[in-house]
């Protein structure tokens, strides 16, 4: 059940240019959060900018009640958020989303992410590792300057494969191609993905064609984040062509089975 808390910012770090990691004390949210959940942040008590910002959870430190999230400064809202200082209180609602990453049934996990979509995959990988699963992780970035969290992901995965589109760091090309290449050898029983839409589409297509279980974390513009405004619609895969039906990313998701959604 989501709660609204005024969470104290206890640590702040700019991990690469324009991308910030915030650690906040939010025991009430941490307690009930699962890998894949997100939070909604109100960056001001004024009416401009108006809406909350949905941001995925990067790490849950359950022992200390610390929640970590990472965000890129993209507009006015994230700009204001990035100016918060250690000690400031941040208005957060969470955990949100009833569709979270499910790992119980699987033993060999392929985790794939791209760019700023990699953040929720950290808590997923960490949790799966603690469950003694094998976790191989494929993270794709545009180029060397955009590579981040390599050391952190190394600690929570068995194998970490970093790719850059231009080959300026580690493996050249797209993360998905490396995953497909390893498939015969590794025989993963579930793929978990979060990242840019073209990547998600490629992962979904591959998983469906090869009958591999696959869970996708999706993004869509949100109004409330609570399942009320019905703004963040995503088409169901089963819906008839002339009469589309929709799930909502904030409530049914953000994580969906690849079989269920048309993206």
């Amino acid at each position: 059940m989501p709660k609204q808390v005024l969470a104290k910012l206890v640590e702040k770090q700019e991990i690469i240019k324009g991308i910030f990691k915030f650690s906040v004390k939010a025991s009430e949210i941490v307690e009930t959060s699962k890998p894949g959940n997100f939070i909604e942040i109100r960056v001001t008590d004024q009416v401009e900018p108006f809406l909350r910002r949905p941001i995925s959870i990067y790490n849950l430190d359950r022992k200390n009640g610390i929640l970590e999230f990472i965000f890129q400064v993209k507009g006015k809202g994230t700009e204001i958020l990035s100016k918060k200082e250690v000690g400031d209180k941040i208005d957060i609602i969470g955990p949100l989303g009833y569709g979270t990453f499910k790992t119980e049934k699987y033993n060999k996990l392929a985790v794939i992410g791209g760019g700023i979509g990699i953040f929720p995959l950290y808590e997923l990988s960490k949790t799966a590792k603690a469950q003694k699963k094998q976790v191989n992780c494929y993270l794709g970035f545009r180029s060397k300057d955009f590579v981040m969290l390599e050391k952190e992901f190394e600690e929570v995965t068995d194998n970490l494969i970093i790719t850059t589109d231009d080959g300026s760091y580690k493996n050249k090309g797209f993360a998905i191609d490396y995953l497909i290449n390893d498939m015969e050898k590794e025989k993963y029983d579930c793929i978990y993905a979060c990242g840019p839409l073209p990547m998600l589409k490629a992962v979904q297509k591959y998983a469906l064609e090869n009958n591999i279980e696959c869970q996708l974390s999706l993004e869509e513009k949100m109004g409330c984040g609570l399942g009320v405004c019905l703004g963040c619609a995503v088409k169901t895969a089963q819906s008839p062509k002339d009469a589309p039906e929709y799930f909502h990313v904030c409530k049914g998701g953000p994580v969906f089975n690849a079989k269920d959604v048309e993206i």
Partner: protein, 302 residues
């Protein structure tokens, strides 16, 4: 101190309600507070048959507000009656169903069903700007409003409120249609038809191109319209549009609203409605007002 209000025959513990489409059927907000604290819950726009709504993207942020083009996605009146109504009834609040349709027949059929349900009133939606048929198409002329209202009145014994669109030239004249059609009250304003363009894609942000603007950006327009309507009709008014605080609510009541509704403010802070109730009480204490009914329409023009 009295905050009780009789609105169109509905006895409310305070004048604060939550607006259609911003509160679902109450479940999500019951995670945060007791819905029994509200004067009334106005449900998501509900139609005779389920509606799946518009293509995404359906929402975007604008200056001090937002656009939506949901397209009245809802599970239909039968599902509501079997699933949501019994849930809402557990709370000590009034239930008003926002009713939408694409033809007069559909409005009438729907209201026949609603008349037999355990609800406290019906808000006729003649104002949604995001569907091709019905709603705003009826709501933008005196004749259209009067016709739908009077046809529904024939089958509905419960309190009838008609929700108006601001996308008209003469809001007061149209509100007369509500009164002449035999409704008990009028609510206004629904969202303002609007558009936002992504300048890099050179396309509107919403898939439906246009959507309804809500939030504090529209409040002054709403206050003006509530005042104009209050001068034109004798039925009570529910005022809404960008209310975030008790002060905002008082402004609407001074302009002539008997009750108010919290809309997009629910998205920003789940407690906006509760804080509005507290804010109204605080204003009453500060200004030595014994009875909230004493401030309705008490604005003095310059």
């Amino acid at each position: 101190m009295n905050t009780k209000i009789n609105f169109a025959g509905i006895e409310m513990k305070n004048p604060v309600t939550v607006a259609s489409g911003t509160f679902g059927y109450g479940r999500e907000y019951a995670d945060f507070f007791d819905l029994g604290k509200l004067g009334a819950v106005i449900t998501k726009g509900t139609s005779l048959k389920p509606k799946s709504g518009n293509k995404p993207s359906r929402v975007c942020e604008t200056a001090s507000g937002m656009l939506n083009s949901i397209g009245l996605q809802n599970p239909g009146v039968e599902y509501f009656a079997n699933n949501d109504l019994p849930y809402l009834r557990k709370f000590d609040t009034k239930i008003i169903v926002n009713a939408c349709g694409s033809s007069i027949d559909e409005y009438v059929e729907l209201c026949k069903i609603l008349n037999n349900l355990d609800i406290d009133g019906v808000e006729l939606n003649l104002s949604c700007p995001n569907v091709k048929e019905g709603c705003m198409a009826f709501g933008n002329t005196y004749e259209g409003v009067k016709k739908v209202t009077s046809e529904v009145r024939k089958v509905l014994d419960k309190p009838l409120i008609v929700k108006l669109t601001p996308n008209v030239t003469d809001i007061a004249g149209i509100a007369k249609g509500v009164e002449d059609g035999g409704a008990d009250a009028v609510s206004l304003i629904n969202t303002l038809l609007a558009m936002k363009i992504d300048i890099y894609k050179r396309r509107p942000v919403l898939a439906n191109n246009t959507g309804g603007l809500s939030g504090p950006a529209i409040k002054p327009v709403a206050v003006r319209m509530v005042y104009q309507v209050s001068q034109a009709v004798n039925i009570p008014i529910m005022g809404l549009g960008g209310i975030m605080t008790g002060e905002d609510a008082i402004e609407f009541m001074l302009a002539g609203a008997t009750t108010v509704s919290i809309g997009a403010g629910n998205f920003v802070d789940p407690y906006t409605s509760i804080k509005t109730i507290e804010g109204i009480e605080e204003y009453m204490r500060k200004c030595n007002i014994e009875d909230i009914n004493d401030i309705i329409g008490k604005v003095e023009m310059n």
